[in-house]
């Protein structure tokens, strides 16, 4: 199993040279968990209403959260490095 990202490394130009930031990406997991728990009853309700009215994509609201979790957990290794003279930007999920 892949390890989820723990840190987010950002590098961007500032007024005096470049700034490097190491953000604790692992903090997003508890935040996301809370948001998921808050959203879950609403998504369930939406799915039930859509199922009641026989809307074809009634299950879609229930699929959203697992998919979002899946994507967030698999960001480790994602790197975007843009080089432009004096304006280099780096986004790296570590």
């Amino acid at each position: 199993m892949n390890q989820p990202s723990t840190m987010l490394h950002l590098k961007f130009p500032g007024a005096s040279g470049y700034h490097g930031l190491w953000l604790p990406f692992f903090l997003i997991y508890p935040i996301l968990l809370v948001i998921s728990l808050i959203l879950l009853p609403f998504l369930l309700l939406a799915a039930m209403i859509m199922a009641f009215f026989e809307i074809s994509y009634a299950l879609v609201p229930l699929k959203v959260l697992p998919l979002v979790w899946n994507v967030v957990f698999k960001t480790r290794g994602l790197t975007v490095d843009v080089r432009k003279k004096g304006h280099d930007v780096l986004i790296d999920f570590v």
């Binding site: 892949n2 074809s56 994509y57 879609v60 699929k63 959203v64 998919l67 899946n70 994507v71 957990f73 698999k74 960001t75 480790r76 290794g77 994602l78 790197t79 975007v80 490095d81 843009v82 080089r83 432009k84 003279k85 304006h87």
Partner: protein
Amino acid sequence: MSENRKRILELLANGKISVDEASKLLSALGDEGAPRTDTTVPPVNKMKYLRVTVDALKSQHPDGPEKVNIRVPVALIRAGMKFSSLIPKEASEQVDKALCEKGININLKNLKEEDLETLLEALTDLEVEIDDGKGHVTIHAE
């Protein structure tokens, strides 16, 4: 090579036994000491990342970035592909129609996970290079 096999070949070289006899003796030995012909291909290293590199020519893009280097984990691509299941049927038909108008014949509903796997497998041995005179784009697997 086993000692028995060597002895048979020596006897053949010295002319003490005929080729037929040597062949019979060697076949009687079976696989003993035969050189290993391992037909099982070692598993290809599973690709982990897809790297896209763009080198733009300064003369063509004076304000744009000079170099873009993107590394995308394959697991993330797989996870992202699953988002296509969220697109309602009506919306996917409209997307397909819009893509078709742009000359891209892709049916989103027909795009399955197996197709992506095949595409990713193909990319392990393939490197895509595009050079249109304005810049250079390379896509390869790592």
